[in-house]
Amino acid sequence: MSFTSPIFLVFVAVLVLLRYLLPKRFAWILILIANLIFYAFAGWYGLIFITFTTLSAWVLSRAMDRNLSTQNQYLADHKKEMPREERKAYKESMKKKRRLMLTLGLVLNFGILFALKYLNFLTANLNLFLPETAKIGAMSLWLPMGISFYTFQTMGYMIDVYRGKYPAEKNFFKLATFTSFFPLLVQGPITRFDDLSKTLYSPEDFSRKRFSFGLQRILWGYFKKMVIADRIFPAVAALTASPDVYNGSFVFFAILFYAIQLYADFSGGIDITIGIAQLLGITVKENFNRPFFSKNTAEYWRRWHITLGEWFKDYLFYPISVSSGMLKLSRTIRQKTGDRFGKKLPVYVASFVIWLVTGLWHGAGWNFIVWGLLNAIVIIGSEELAPLYAKFHARFPKLKPTTPYKIFEMLRTSFLMCSFHILDCYKSVPAYFKAWFSMFTVPNLSKAFGAGGGLMHLGLTLADYAVVLLGVLTMLLVSLKQRSGSVREAIWQKNSALLRYAIIGAMVLVILIFGAYGIGYDSAQFIYNQF
């Protein structure tokens, strides 16, 4: 059941109606049923996997919880007679058990994810080193919908319970409502249990404002996805399918068009997700914060796919950088090379690891690994060059606060990040690098705008480009307006139902008429749905 299919709209409409007709205490049960229906549409087989993940998380989290309660009770009961050392040893042994339970959960679930998503990639690469007779055949593995999203979300929950951030959810079905919350299954955001559970189990009452906001958010998402992303998609596909033909200036256009497609597609999907949740009275965390306004790479990654970045930061980056092994290594390096590098080493190692894993999270392919490592190199490189920047700005102190320089920083960061994003599209890493460098070695801008084989031969007409341009300008205007606060709030403050109706009506018309859907359009599924 694709977000852009008519049946999905009917599904959501019926769900929202039932949500407000039924007593609020049944809301989470209704949502769980909706989750199951939505998931079953993608194949019953997938339900086995998500149920296993939920069940394992529920059993092990409850076990960790009980272990902690037993520990606390035991310590309270034996407070007086237990010496400090014995208490410490007891706590340590109990923690070890909890760690074992957590490890079991992580190994099982990440193991499934690894097996389904990465095994064929691994064997394909292993085969390169194996003799012909020993080569391992590719397996036919079916990837359950949203496995990367729900696995990360559920494992985040288990780690939080282990860390004692909140107690384990006692009700299996309530936990299942969280792990399978359907709007998040397609492309996130990867939410935290403590964030989502507040309104998931006890949604907000109906309010006209919330409803209107939700509806506008959904329409805005469909506008981005159907009018912009799906319209520019054929050009991106054509440009990256033949890198030897479309080199030089065409690569720049490929980067630009894919940036437009990816942002409109991914953020549009998130808008739909958040909007649906809003209609149901549930609050979902934001995943984007106008990333193309970022002035450096680190900032960009704090504003793009926010929830994935935070997940890795909390559950991978910090544990690695403050692990005993890393601290020991840091101490050794500091003793040998001095403080500067020794201090930074844990951060750099952790950065490399999280970017490698982030790349792999996006897909089993060298493109994604290289994408992750390029990001790590740029971020660490920026960190190393920071003193140089500081010197430069000390010499030209008036430059940094100027608008042109800020715009330069934004364009520089965006170009760099979008140059990496386009790795998704090329068939191989060498093809990508060859194409990318050709931007500076093949001067063919006139060909791009020429009659034979130019931009007008990529499956888009001038009218299509005009729609994309107007769509992008609309996104830009909205983003600029968002700097001073929520656009929907500003509309609401006008206190004009007529204005709100006009906006909703206009959006419906624009999406239905200018959307790239139906026969004649090779409408793509959401890009992040594949990850």
Partner: protein, 361 residues
């Protein structure tokens, strides 16, 4: 009277929905193809509903009916009222449902079905589906016709709301779309699409040898249904193979249709074998080298077929009925006017320039 806030909200929502639906309808009306020039075949199905009088004979089938028979000749020479509910590459199930749709409005005495489409057992093309189905009025019959006809990428929803299919025409709107926004002009004469120009038959493409000459079973299933429908309504079904020489009609196919006709006691006329008797001359009676008849050919064929109908079925001569006479007098005027207009184009340009222009040539 003070209106409560809740009522005001609901009234507002209702008004909003009404306005939105009106705008969507207007957008749909604007964006749907009007088929007024270039490919007027698409306008044929909807044109039927303009009829104010009923008909004794209804034709269903593909271009071999709507280009080869002239109901005006049947009227003028025999007083037979007839209508051609044909469509481009109309598939047999589309012919069946078009007939079912016709029976919602009238019950003719004779139904004539051209069997060429018996050779096609699967939906062929979305464009032809659209031309045959979009013009049908919404009914369970139309929905059945759509379900039977859809190609892989088509959806029933897009036939209910054609805006979902034609939304992308915003970039190719022509002045016709605005001119015919409210009302389209008739393109045919009781379903007959007229061409008066001549392009003699020279050489037809070579006749391919087929691996299998068995006609698809689905064709006979619908033929059975058509026969049952006619029987239930007291209508005489007649099967014909129009005298167009291309696309080819194989003897093997002919034998299978003839066998079915004999078994079901339905008359079957293979007019390809009767061309000489009818007087068809493919040097003067075709406008596209033997595929379709021009006005001369259509009138000759209709004269012959009218005689056949009059001899074999008790069809009333309506010429003295003032209701029909008035209606057909107006139809005749339009018929003559089109002949005159096409003749003027040929005299001035040596060809039908309007059609060429509409097709972008």
């Amino acid at each position: 009277m003070k209106i409560s806030k809740t009522l005001k909200t609901w009234l507002g929502i209702a008004l909003f929905l009404v306005i939105l639906l009106a705008l969507l309808f207007a957008a749909q009306r604007l964006l749907m193809p009007k088929y007024m020039s270039g490919i007027p075949e698409g306008a044929l199905p909807a044109e039927y509903y303009r009829e104010t009088t009923d008909h004794d004979v209804i034709f269903v089938g593909d271009c071999e009916v709507y280009e080869n028979f002239s109901p005006m000749t049947l009227w003028e020479e025999y007083g037979i009222t007839s209508y051609i509910r044909g469509g481009p590459e109309q598939l047999i199930w589309q012919s069946y449902y078009t007939l079912e749709d016709t029976l919602r409005h009238e019950t003719p005495k004779v139904v004539v079905f051209n069997v060429l489409s018996m050779s096609l057992g699967e939906p062929q093309s979305e464009a032809y589906n659209r031309m045959n189905l979009d013009g049908l009025r919404l009914s369970s019959t139309k929905l059945d016709a759509v379900r039977a006809s859809m190609t892989e990428d088509e959806t029933l929803l897009s036939y209910l709301f054609p805006l979902l299919r034609f939304h992308s025409r915003w970039s190719e709107l022509s002045k016709d779309d605005f001119k015919y926004f409210f009302k389209t002009d008739p393109v045919a004469h009781n379903g007959y699409l007229m061409r008066i120009d001549v392009k003699p038959k020279t050489q037809l493409p070579s006749k391919p040898v087929l691996d299998d000459y068995t006609l698809p079973a689905i064709g006979f299933e619908y033929l059975d249904k058509m026969q049952a429908l006619c029987k239930d309504n007291g209508i005489q079904l007649i099967l014909i193979k129009s005298p167009s020489e291309y696309p080819y009609w194989y003897e093997e196919w002919d034998a299978q249709v003839a066998a079915w006709a004999e078994q079901n006691e339905v008359p079957y006329l293979n007019m390809l074998l009767l061309s000489d008797e009818i007087g068809i001359d493919m040097q003067t009676d075709t406008y596209d080298g033997g595929m379709h008849l021009n006005l001369s050919g259509a009138e000759k064929l209709s004269t012959w077929f009218g005689a056949y109908l009059t001899e074999n079925y008790a069809l009333e001569d309506h010429r003295s009925d003032p209701v029909y006479a008035d209606v057909y007098a107006a139809k005749k005027a339009a018929y003559d006017a089109e002949i005159a207009d096409q003749q003027r184009q040929i005299d001035e340009y040596g060809k039908l320039i309007d059609i060429e222009r509409a097709n972008g040539n």
